[in-house]
Amino acid sequence: MGGLTVGDIACGRSGDKGTTLDLTVVAADAGAYATLEAHLGAELVAGLLGAPRAVRHEVPGLLALKFVLEGALDAGPWASRRAGMHWQKAAISPVLALTLAEIGAAPA
């Protein structure tokens, strides 16, 4: 079961405001939420996406976590230097691809 990923127990979406990357992870159920709340930390997500810092907000009533990564993006699409200019919507994919083993969660 160590091969289970965040994307097997949750779904997610990412977007932006200016140079800030904004990610949402919604757990499949209360058990999955507890696992993610305990193990999917702000520093881990910031490191994964190469952001200088991240703030995490917990919304247990919605089984959701939010990650706000200031300064993670270049100054908007005008200044982006990647081939995938609007990469903010793809930013959630590596988070969902993390295995539960990688985030230190005991296999279900």
């Binding site: 939010k66 005008w78 230097r81």
Partner: protein, 437 residues
């Protein structure tokens, strides 16, 4: 739920959004209002440039989007609220009135909501990090839903606004139907936020846990959302009967929290919303009830976006390599480019690697090599035309003087525009209604 007091459909979520879903919403006879959110920073820059050239500075798809919509809207009494005005709501409204007349719907009353344009009041705005050089194209405040509500109250069938906040489009249609308290308004703003990205709440941009998602056929015909809103601001989000898509706890929660940053304090011009006690319940097939938004006061200042055209351009260039050793040759090409750019004095190039089958097409299959192809992409900020051309030429030279078999070179340029954040006291911004036609 208590009987809905209003029914609103989200018909467009950005300037280039599909045209058909809004027509389906208006033609259903089940929707009182269709909102069209068509404005983004990029759209606004284009509109400001048009206006400076003496051309109407509204959304370039104004006629394209409204031509198929006005007939169904007139037939079913469905009212349309759009921010298609961009930098020029009044001229946009005139254009809409003219279009309505041409199509035989001249009885439709069209109003523009103006007042967000701060282009001649830049000094009243507190700017952060304004660039030292460049040409200011304009500045617009994000306004709330009051102007839209007033235009509808005074009888508008079609309301054309400029830089109103996205959530204000639907909230404006709801204000008069909602109970007169802050939390009900917060609910209306949440409805606006849920509708403003259209297909993102009905199964677009969505993979559920374990990979559940819509098929390409469903996505190609995706229905856009309808909100059945109660007087207390709670709402049920649904599809039109028979429409493709899915609305469930996950699609709604993902959109609810989309780009809100702090869910306990989502700032809109009409109020700071606390989403943390919101309840999202599946109440039927593709039907989700959202309730419990709370209003935490009105922000004293409005957000302003200023647009500055900076000198020079961003140049994007690519060259591709296929099959055996594609990755190695691409990396060698990138190294050649690093050396050449350094000699050229080009600023800080970013080189990245892209690709599957852009070069060889069908000949890529079966994919014998991993990766099957790699395109080297560079974005380089160029101060002037000479530097932009020099950077582009470096790529063309690679086809003769770089690693073997490089091809598929392409080059594009992006204008270099800075979006500057500002704030203005809300009392300084007055929305007004202009009637046309």
């Amino acid at each position: 739920m208590s009987a809905p007091v209003a029914t609103v459909g989200g018909g467009a979520g950005f300037a280039g959004d599909r045209l058909d879903p809004a027509v389906a919403l208006a033609s259903s006879g089940l929707v009182q209002y269709v909102t069209l959110e068509c404005l983004a920073e990029r759209t606004m820059v284009h509109a400001l440039r048009q206006r400076r050239r003496g051309v109407a500075g509204h959304d370039p798809r104004l006629r394209l989007r409204l031509a198929p919509l006005l007939g169904p809207a007139a037939e079913h009494g469905c009212r349309i609220v759009a921010n298609l005005g961009a930098a020029d709501p009044e001229r946009a409204a005139e254009e809409v009135a003219a279009l309505a007349g041409e199509l035989g719907h001249g009885r439709l009353r069209v109003a523009a909501v103006v007042g967000d344009d701060l282009g001649d009041r830049m000094g009243d705005v507190a700017w952060s990090d304004a660039p030292a050089e460049g040409e200011w194209l304009g500045a617009h405040a994000y306004t709330g839903s009051e102007g839209i509500a007033r235009a509808l109250r005074e009888g508008a069938d079609i309301v054309i606004a400029g830089r109103v906040a996205d959530s204000a489009l639907a909230a404006g249609t709801l204000r008069d139907a909602l109970a007169d308290d802050g939390d009900a308004l917060a609910g209306g703003l949440v409805v606006g936020h849920l509708l403003e990205c259209t297909g993102q709440v009905t199964g677009g941009n969505y993979t559920g846990p374990g990979g559940r998602r819509l098929t390409p056929e469903q996505l190609a015909d995706l229905g856009y959302p309808v909100a059945h809103v109660s007087g207390d601001g709670s709402a049920e989000i649904a599809l039109l009967p028979g429409a493709q898509g899915c609305v469930n706890r996950e699609t709604v929660t993902l959109q609810l929290l989309y780009e809100v940053h702090d869910p306990s304090a989502y700032i809109t011009p009409d109020g700071i919303i606390d989403m943390t006690r919101i309840s999202v319940e599946e109440v039927g097939p593709d039907r989700v009830r959202v309730s419990g938004a709370r209003h935490r006061g009105v922000p004293p200042q409005l957000k302003v976006s200023g647009f500055v055209a900076l000198p020079g351009a961003m140049v994007d260039v690519e060259i591709g390599f296929a099959c055996v050793d594609a990755l190695a040759r691409a990396r060698e090409a990138a190294e050649v480019l690093r050396l050449r750019f350094a000699a050229l004095g080009a600023a800080d190039p970013t080189l990245d690697l892209v690709g599957v089958d852009s070069l060889l097409g069908p000949a890529s299959a079966p994919l014998r090599c991993d990766p099957p192809e790699v395109r080297v992409h560079a974005s380089v900020a160029c101060a002037d035309e000479d530097m932009a051309r020099a950077v582009e030429d470096e790529f063309y030279w690679l086809s003769m003087a770089g690693p073997a078999a490089g091809g598929g070179i392409r080059a594009e340029r992006r204008d270099h525009v800075a979006v500057v954040d500002g704030r203005i006291d809300r009392t300084e911004v007055r929305e007004e209604i202009v009637w046309v036609g």
